[in-house]
Point group: C2
Chain length 336, copies 2
């Protein structure tokens, strides 16, 4: 249990076979007699042997390491539970598959050096990019160098890359449907910025829900925010002039601002205006009244990203694999 780590060679001696055979056992390669395999495995188990990561990496073409890249811009969003949960999903799934996880945060100005440092110096088997902004230089580089990677969050411009994302469109549709089911007729929305996928997609979900219900789209009921609380407040003020009976905010923070604006106008939630948000931020449970919202499967998103990445790595998949996970409606009292 304690004591220093042994080497392959020593395990080989202990089990009376050669280094090569032990290596085959460790890597689950064929062409080892069952009886021998078991014997070696037993010894490995007994002495608690673990292969030396660096040595494997140097000798083979595999590093058993995944690298998580977090662009600098994203760090601000760290206050939301989304990224930590994604990280948890990634780490757990990677560890289950016996992969190590490296974490790096890139400042914009150091992207170039960063790339060399991590990708060349460390040689991960694959890379997970957390939320690639459109102008991120990392993604094109990964493509160029043919390094398997998965982006969390659909990429706005570059097509044909592997990604894992929440179903923003479907989620928004569910949210708006929910308001319709509660009998709301005049549903407004506060969207996110057009430069972000989540902004665009959630807007589209809103439109499609109204469309399928045969309700006419009224442009004055659509105001663009920027995901902040403040933008929610001002957008709602603007919307109130149209007297909507419900509002779908594309983020909980904006919903918070909207609620504040509604109260300031002396209207009741949900009686006069029902509110639904998106994200299921921790604060959503504690607003007054508690906020109905769409919960993102954050942890699963991380886990899925790793699954996809491992398939790209081990199967040498050429064509990109993408997964979209559904968001879940969390009904609280703000929606009536």
């Amino acid at each position: 249990m304690a004591g220093k780590n042994l080497t392959l060679e020593e395990i080989a001696t202990l089990s009376g076979v050669s280094r090569s055979t032990v290596s085959r056992v460790i890597n689950n390669r064929p062409n080892v007699k069952d009886e021998v395999r078991e014997r070696v495995q037993k010894i490995i188990e007994e002495v608690g042997y673990r292969p030396h990561g660096a040595a494997r990496r140097l000798a083979g073409d595999r590093s058993y390491t995944l690298s998580i890249i977090i662009p600098y811009d994203v760090q601000a969003i760290f206050s939301e539970p989304f990224f930590p949960a994604v990280l948890t999903g990634i780490t757990q799934t990677a560890e289950q598959n016996d992969y190590y996880v490296m974490l790096s945060m890139v400042e914009r100005s150091r992207e170039e050096d960063f790339y060399r440092r991590v990708v060349r110096g460390q040689m991960p088997d694959g890379v997970i990019v957390l939320s690639a902004k459109a102008d991120n230089k990392i993604v094109p580089r990964l493509i160029e160098d043919e390094i398997p990677f998965v982006v969390i969050g659909r990429h706005l411009y570059i097509p044909d890359i592997s990604y894992a994302d929440v179903d923003n469109i479907g989620g928004a549709r569910t949210a708006v449907r929910h308001l319709l089911e509660r009998g709301r007729k005049k549903i407004a929305t506060i969207t996110g910025p057009n430069s972000m996928v989540a902004g665009v997609d959630r807007r589209e979900g809103y439109l499609s829900a109204l469309d399928e219900a045969g309700i006419e789209i009224r442009p004055e009921l659509i105001v663009q925010g920027d995901f902040t609380r403040e933008s929610g407040y001002f957008s709602m003020q603007q919307l109130l002039s149209c007297q909507p009976d419900a509002v779908f905010a594309a983020s909980d923070l904006m919903a918070l601002g909207a609620m504040s604006a509604i109260r300031t106008a002396n209207l009741r939630i949900p009686d006069d205006v029902a509110v639904v948000g998106f994200d299921d931020a921790p604060v959503a449970a504690y607003t007054d009244p508690p906020l109905t919202t769409m919960k993102q499967p954050s942890k699963e998103l991380g886990a899925t990203a790793v699954d996809v990445l491992l398939r790209l790595i081990t199967e040498g998949q050429e064509k990109p694999l993408s997964t979209i996970l559904p968001a879940e409606l969390v009904i609280r009292s703000s929606s009536g």
Copy 2:
């Protein structure tokens, strides 16, 4: 810029010196003529060379890797901004010092295997343990194997280990002083559990602030919660029978619960009862009224942990180094 990574040998050929000399340049070792050093550095710069991490690790006794260990229990707390911010601080500081960061989350049941996998298989130069609970098996193992490590958050039982922590005592004292300065006379507190350092320390800060103000401690004004919103609510209900004019809650979540209880009792905040929390959770800015609280220097905590760890590693420090960072009072309207 693009193209494959070169090796030390190739850099050596390009610069007309030997492998050894290039190695000296890379590792900033003495005994290289300035002129040669510059020439080599220029070439390295030009071709964007980065040493192969695995090779360095295998050859030398340094791995240039720090391992962050997150015990399973802690993951729940991930919804607070504390840990992500700490992670950011760790990663940035590590990268500035040219260290790689590995991330691992340990399930209780797999601690043993985990330890071998990460510590033996990966051989980090040092380990950062995020919030070691008292029963964590990792810390004793690290001590036994003489691996440099730093714990984030003071350890409750094991003395003489390196840690970085927020000044919970001083922070709590500041919070209570603030209430005293606002003229509050009868200040209650809702504490955290005694099993957690933050619980114990923040309680002590409360006591010491009253003590230095010459105010008598009244046990009925001290109720123990468990950092959850619910416990804050019930604790406050209990406290209201003593008619305090202020309450210091040892966490924002508990403060939230307390505010709810106060309102239910038809009392006004801060007029009848002033409230101060601890943590500066994102929700604190959006409560009604916004919550005065103690902001933790989370990112700095991570940065400090790395600084300390690097000193332990590079200076071969024997005796533990600890740092305590001050918490900052964020005044909002809940405190009057």
